[in-house]
Symmetry: none
Subunit: 143 residues, 4 copies
């Protein structure tokens, strides 16, 4: 899971880490149960502050994407069927709120309902197709 930090980005560094971990889980590059690098090693590799990685992991745990097993480090949560399921539900609820907010603003700019849905579909297609072949390959080959 190669994480790249853009020191020039306007996004906080911990958000960049968070986004890329979520992206890796989305594409299957990181599978449920798989361990993540330790806070210390990732901080060293990325050349960022230890607290920054810590914060990223803590947020991902709060969102239900990771499970922290104390001394053994962080692991990808099995979101579908797990005690953290309510966290996913909360994320879905927040996503709904966010989609609503975007749609409202789009309407305020004179956009139409169908144009909004089309744009959402286009972005979904991009998000779900990216790395899809990689994911399939990673799941069927020997590793």
């Amino acid at each position: 899971m190669p994480i790249v930090i853009d020191q020039m980005s306007e996004d906080p560094i911990y958000q960049q880490i968070r986004t890329q971990v979520i992206g890796a889980i989305a594409t299957g590059e990181l599978s449920p149960g798989e361990p993540l690098p330790s806070v210390r090693s990732l901080a060293r590799d990325l050349g960022v502050n230890l607290h920054t990685v810590n914060k990223a992991y803590a947020v991902l745990r709060d969102e239900g994407y990771l499970i922290m097993r104390g001394r053994s480090g962080a692991f990808v949560a099995d979101i579908r069927d797990s005690p953290v399921h309510h966290l996913t539900a909360e994320q879905d609820w927040l996503m709904g709120k966010e989609l609503r907010r975007l749609a409202v603003a789009f309407r305020a700019r004179g956009g139409s309902e169908s144009a909004f849905v089309e744009e959402a579909a286009r972005q979904a297609r991009a998000a779900f197709q990216r790395e899809k072949t990689l994911v399939k390959g990673a799941g069927t080959d020997e590793r």
Copy 2:
């Protein structure tokens, strides 16, 4: 246009104002050319500082939703056929990025592409229908 501030919210106060003004424009509760309450009076009504409302209005102006006239206050812009629709293009571009981010996170939580689009469609329906009947009704009913 009733605006409600949640002092406990994580959202900055000026963002809460911004969101609710955009919502009122979207539903037609605020029409192009219509005046908004003055910075001073809204600040008084909401119990927040003058500068906080000022910032909300300034952001809305920069995004193209409002026009400020130093003399007589803030007015809803006619964003649809404005010569500065660069502003709209910018907003639309940011919306696309945000939709992508949401879709990626949804995929990471095990969601499917079609479920994402369905949720987007549901939220769009809500955003575009809310108050629509009220608005139409106000023009066609005898009240």
Copy 3:
């Protein structure tokens, strides 16, 4: 990047800062990615309030000239190949409007079309050559 504030000027202080930062970017004195002085230190050096510098930087960010990173300050944006060149388009459109206004007023004063274009060309020459040799020289000379 020496910035000079004229407290007696009609131009707001934040505009004076803005203009001089743009000038420094234009001449290459400030290059993309290069950090600017922090809001606090510049405010101290100029003898103005922190919020005044903050506003100047915020405007420059909104116009696409700067990037703000909450943690480590302000940096010169690489405006040329930015994905948000809507911002540049907006600036260019405003420039066109301004040029038109100047040309109309010049005509009203009895000026000719060719004289206007000649003056524009003269000013452009000055704006584009100023510091150009200095910049180039710094790279090719042995100093």
Copy 4:
């Protein structure tokens, strides 16, 4: 000289009056020596405050476009050869400064010198051709 006030514009009303008077002088619709409507009548016609028209006329006088003859009202100045000639010189000087400022900002956005001059030429063409036929007609026919 039909003046139209856009109450929705972001420009101050006195600036709108100023710009349109300058435009009328530019196209020859208003000729040197010609009287302008009185402050009172123009204010009444435009439905604006008397002070607002007064300010517009005062600015135009300070810029050398008008001459105020006390009791007899405002007249278009003969800019070319008149005691207010130094005012025109000042306007030209300000125009040069403004052109420089625009060129510097354009360079900072990555624009080229030739592109700037081309845009200036395009705007000059528009400013000088607009109403040119009207002007010619007005000068050669019986009025």
